[in-house]
Symmetry: C2
Subunit: 123 residues, 2 copies
């Protein structure tokens, strides 16, 4: 019935801790429409929930929350709640995710270059 009998390679659910490939492991931790983008914005410093949201046009609150929570669980962001009212929650990179800064630097440059070509090439 609701059971998987097969190799069971869900991206988000089982987080691929047991995968045998380091690259696959990394890809799985970072896969998601918004994760790299969120991390990239956090490299400039600690941001509040609403600050991240306003820096990423198009993201819904639900997706922002989901992705932040997953990344927190995976050790990619830390989350600090200040016991105030109104609530105040800070997010920042961890040591682990800081090591990925070169990744989005390369990707951003690469994207900039080739997006321009793609736009110019569209008839």
């Amino acid at each position: 019935m609701g059971k998987r009998k097969t190799t069971s390679t869900n991206l988000q659910n089982e987080r691929f801790i047991a995968t045998t490939c380091d690259l696959t492991y990394a890809v799985c931790l970072l896969s998601g429409r918004w994760k790299l983008l969120i991390l990239c914005h956090l490299q400039d410093g600690i941001l509040r929930y609403s600050e991240i949201r306003s820096k990423i046009p198009g993201i819904t609150e639900k997706m922002l929350t989901v992705q932040l929570r997953e990344m927190e669980k995976d050790g990619l962001v830390y989350r600090t709640v200040r016991p105030e009212f109104p609530p105040h929650v800070d997010y920042g990179l961890t040591e682990m995710s800081s090591e990925l800064i070169p990744v989005w630097e390369v990707l951003e440059n690469w994207g900039a270059t080739h997006r321009k070509s793609a736009i110019n090439a569209t008839p």
Copy 2:
């Protein structure tokens, strides 16, 4: 009918050519369970369809074909068919995707380091 009325942010379908963010553009071109992994294997040289498949345990023929075709369309791999029987098809990196080699190098190292920690940390 088959029409989207909303912001329309499908990952694979509309390929995000019109996105306003370079990083998002890059992420969208590379998103997919297998793309980085395939590209990574191709950095060692030209590979045939069956060679890629055997280097990536767990991938199905369908997914390999789908991802290769998308990447070919996006200029991330090239595909050469030799008019022989039995068929012989070669795949290789393009200039564009060669620029991404640093990305998977970082990711692979990062994955290696932190996967070990994750495995050791699991109770």
